[in-house]
């Protein structure tokens, strides 16, 4: 199996790091009950994708893709691919918007629920749900 050679490991080191970061982020989003931690996890998750794209555009020995002004460029110079970097600029902006919106929602949730733990919120919502159920029953619900 060629999976366990050192070349396979180090040759793909950027992908391994991407996968570790991505899974860390995803785990925090799913595993943590604190809403702020969830947003942080989401951030780590998104950042891993940024890293993935940025490392994808890198060419070994490649330099910054800036074209000489006089138009005389040396064809032997390797340039990194700028497109993934530009794409990720857009994605970073989207990530910031998502984070700030998420945090703003947490502030509103804290104002209404007085907590930011998922478990406590579930308890409060269950109580509301039960109250609705009893109310419906007392008013003669058919089902």
């Amino acid at each position: 199996m060629h999976f366990f050679t050192s070349e396979f490991f180090f040759g793909h080191i950027n992908y391994w790091l991407f996968i570790v970061l991505m899974m860390t982020g995803l785990y925090i989003v799913i595993g943590k009950g604190n809403l702020v931690k969830k947003i942080v996890g989401l951030n780590v998750f998104q950042t891993s994708v940024f890293m993935f794209y940025i490392s994808m555009g890198k060419i070994s020995g490649g330099t910054a893709p800036i074209f000489p002004l006089d138009g005389k460029y040396n064809p032997e110079i390797a340039y990194s691919n700028p497109l993934p970097h530009v794409l990720i600029l857009t994605a970073i902006v989207v990530g910031i918007a998502t984070t700030s919106l998420g945090l703003a929602l947490i502030i509103r949730i804290r104002e209404e629920y007085h907590c930011i733990e998922e478990e406590e919120i579930t308890v409060i919502e269950d109580a509301v749900f039960r109250r609705e159920y009893l109310q419906a029953k007392s008013q003669g619900e058919t089902l």
């Binding site: 991505m22 995803l26 989003v29 809403l35 969830k38 989401l42 998750f45 998104q46 994708v49 993935f52 794209y53 994808m56 074209f67 138009g71 993934p84 794409l87 857009t90 994605a91 989207v94 918007a97 998502t98 919106l101 998420g102 929602l105 947490i106 509103r108 949730i109 209404e112 629920y113 919120i121 919502e125 509301v128 609705e132 159920y133 109310q135 419906a136 008013q139 003669g140 619900e141 058919t142 089902l143």
Partner: protein, 509 residues
């Protein structure tokens, strides 16, 4: 860079229609914020969405015959430049989105007025237009990364719009937060998938992607990319096991928002799924991998039954309709999974018909919320007598949801059954009919509550205002109209299905 002469032929306004489709709502949204007058917000929003609707109609009339409009942004030729591409499939979706937006806005005026405080209403209309811009952009663009950008524009505004329901019920906030988490994970998965495809091909233009992907279907990179895109979009579509954000989001959002989202947002996501599954990846790829057999069939069938079954036992009309939406998405997936022209036509027509049906039903719900305070069954008992016009329209919507002959819903279900029979899958066609029976049960429960039970409170409830009744009835009549007059929907769906099934050759001029 060496200067390149761009051959600039004189362009008329009609050549710029594809970009105007996006720009008009996109510019109107900040305009509303800058003017900042609550009285002007609604007219601006309405004019913008009505203009987009006219543009969408013009575009649809141009491409319904099977031709394609390609618009190069800034004159940069694809595949390097970003391209907007209008064919029968997306022109039809543009028509649906702008049409629904134009009808929801007059309705929203009263509904939003009663469900939201004054100071946030101006911003509401700006966000509504931004959401619409995002949805239109996702639909019209032929650049894969552009899809992500527009998707996030529409998603971010959707989260805020849903959170506006917190003035009525604080659970709207947690619903919006959960949707934000799920939606962002979905969109990020989508970007990862695009990254893999870009690694394999070095391009982001959809037609170019399709070209360069043929012959690479064995590559693990490409397959991983496909999987990420499928799951990412699946979250947005609310494919059965990925649907957990949907019921709460629809239930607690303001009624006008729910109407707009239920009728358009998931439909646009289905369109993107169709575009990627059939145009970027060819049907040959689907036949090679067994995605359809393993993922689409079981989950589509599960959605049809589990979600319909859950819908029967809800005590809130709005939540019942949300679950029914998940079930209807199952039908659309089934049409995709059948992988035939008839199946695809069924999906595209159902996408449209379900859009107008759900719009009518959720508009009815909004009218009940306005007059009786909530949409719980106990609260709307006996409203068939006090709100006869609203209730009649809701019943028409309910019939279309079941798929009773003479309504729009019948046409798409009939096509779906036909498509299943064509492939010789008669058990599936039986299951479609069986799950429609579940729809009969939850719609009957609604009819029973409206007409056969006695009102729970003695207070006098008036009929909904005319500004809400007119859009509601426009939708209800559309449900009947598109049940009889099938040329538009069938014609567009046929052209769209053929273009999609032709794969990349359908995308090349």
């Amino acid at each position: 860079m060496a200067t390149q002469t761009v051959h600039h032929t004189a362009m008329t306004l009609s050549d710029h229609l594809p970009i105007l489709q996006i720009l008009i709502p996109f510019i109107a949204a900040p305009l509303i914020v800058f003017i900042g007058q609550r009285k002007l917000a609604w007219p601006i929003a309405f004019i913008a969405s009505a203009t987009s609707f006219v543009i969408a109609c013009l575009l649809l009339s141009k491409v319904i015959g099977g031709s394609v409009i390609s618009y190069q942004i800034g004159g940069w030729a694809p595949p390097l430049g970003i391209e907007y591409r209008v064919d029968a499939a997306n022109a039809f979706v543009l028509f649906l989105v702008t049409g629904i937006a134009t009808l929801v806005l007059p309705y929203a005026r009263q509904s939003v007025g009663s469900e939201m405080p004054h100071q946030t209403q101006t911003l509401f209309y700006a966000l509504f237009l931004l959401c619409m811009t995002g949805l239109l952009g996702v639909t019209i663009t032929a650049d894969a990364f552009n899809v992500f950008v527009f998707l996030e524009i529409s998603s971010l505004s959707t989260y805020v719009l849903i959170a506006q329901g917190s003035y009525r019920d604080k659970r709207a906030l947690t619903a919006a937060f959960n949707y934000l988490i799920m939606g962002t994970i979905g969109a990020t998965f989508f970007v990862i998938g695009l990254g893999f495809l870009y690694m394999a091909t070095g391009t982001l233009n959809m037609a170019d992607l399709a070209d360069k992907l043929t012959g690479q279907y064995e590559s693990r990179t490409v397959r991983a990319g496909f999987a990420f895109i499928l799951v990412g979009m699946g979250l947005k579509v609310a494919i059965f096991p990925l649907h957990f954000w949907l019921p709460n989001a629809y239930t607690y959002a303001p009624s006008a928002v729910t109407t707009f989202l239920a009728a358009t947002a998931t439909k646009v996501a289905i369109y993107v799924l169709l575009r990627f599954v059939f145009s970027v990846f060819q049907p040959a790829f689907l036949a090679e991998t067994s995605t359809l057999e393993i993922i689409f069939y079981p989950f589509a069938l599960l959605a049809m039954f589990a979600a319909s079954f859950t819908a029967i036992f809800q005590r809130d009309l709005k939540r019942m309709l949300a679950y029914s939406s998940i079930a209807q998405i199952g039908y659309m997936l089934l049409g995709i999974a059948l992988l035939s022209e008839t199946g695809l036509m069924a999906t595209i027509i159902h996408l449209f018909n379900h859009g107008i049906t759900k719009a009518a039903l959720f508009m009815g719900v909004g009218a009940y919320v306005l007059r009786s305070g909530s949409s719980f069954y106990v609260q709307i008992q006996g409203l068939g007598k006090t709100m006869p016009w609203t209730s009649a329209a809701v019943v028409i919507g309910g019939l279309s949801l079941i798929g009773v002959p003479g309504t729009a819903g019948f046409l798409s279900k009939w096509l779906l059954v036909q498509a299943a029979l064509e492939q010789g899958y008669w058990p599936i066609s039986m299951l479609i009919v069986a799950s429609s029976l579940l729809a009969v049960m939850y719609v009957w429960r609604l009819v029973e509550t409206l007409y056969l039970s006695t009102p729970s409170s003695e207070q006098t409830i008036q009929e909904a205002p005319l500004s809400m009744l007119l859009p509601l009835w426009a939708m209800a009549l559309a449900c009947i109209y598109f049940g009889f007059e099938t040329d538009i929907t069938l014609g567009a769906a046929k052209a769209a299905a053929q273009a999609l099934l032709a794969g990349s050759s359908g995308m090349m001029n």
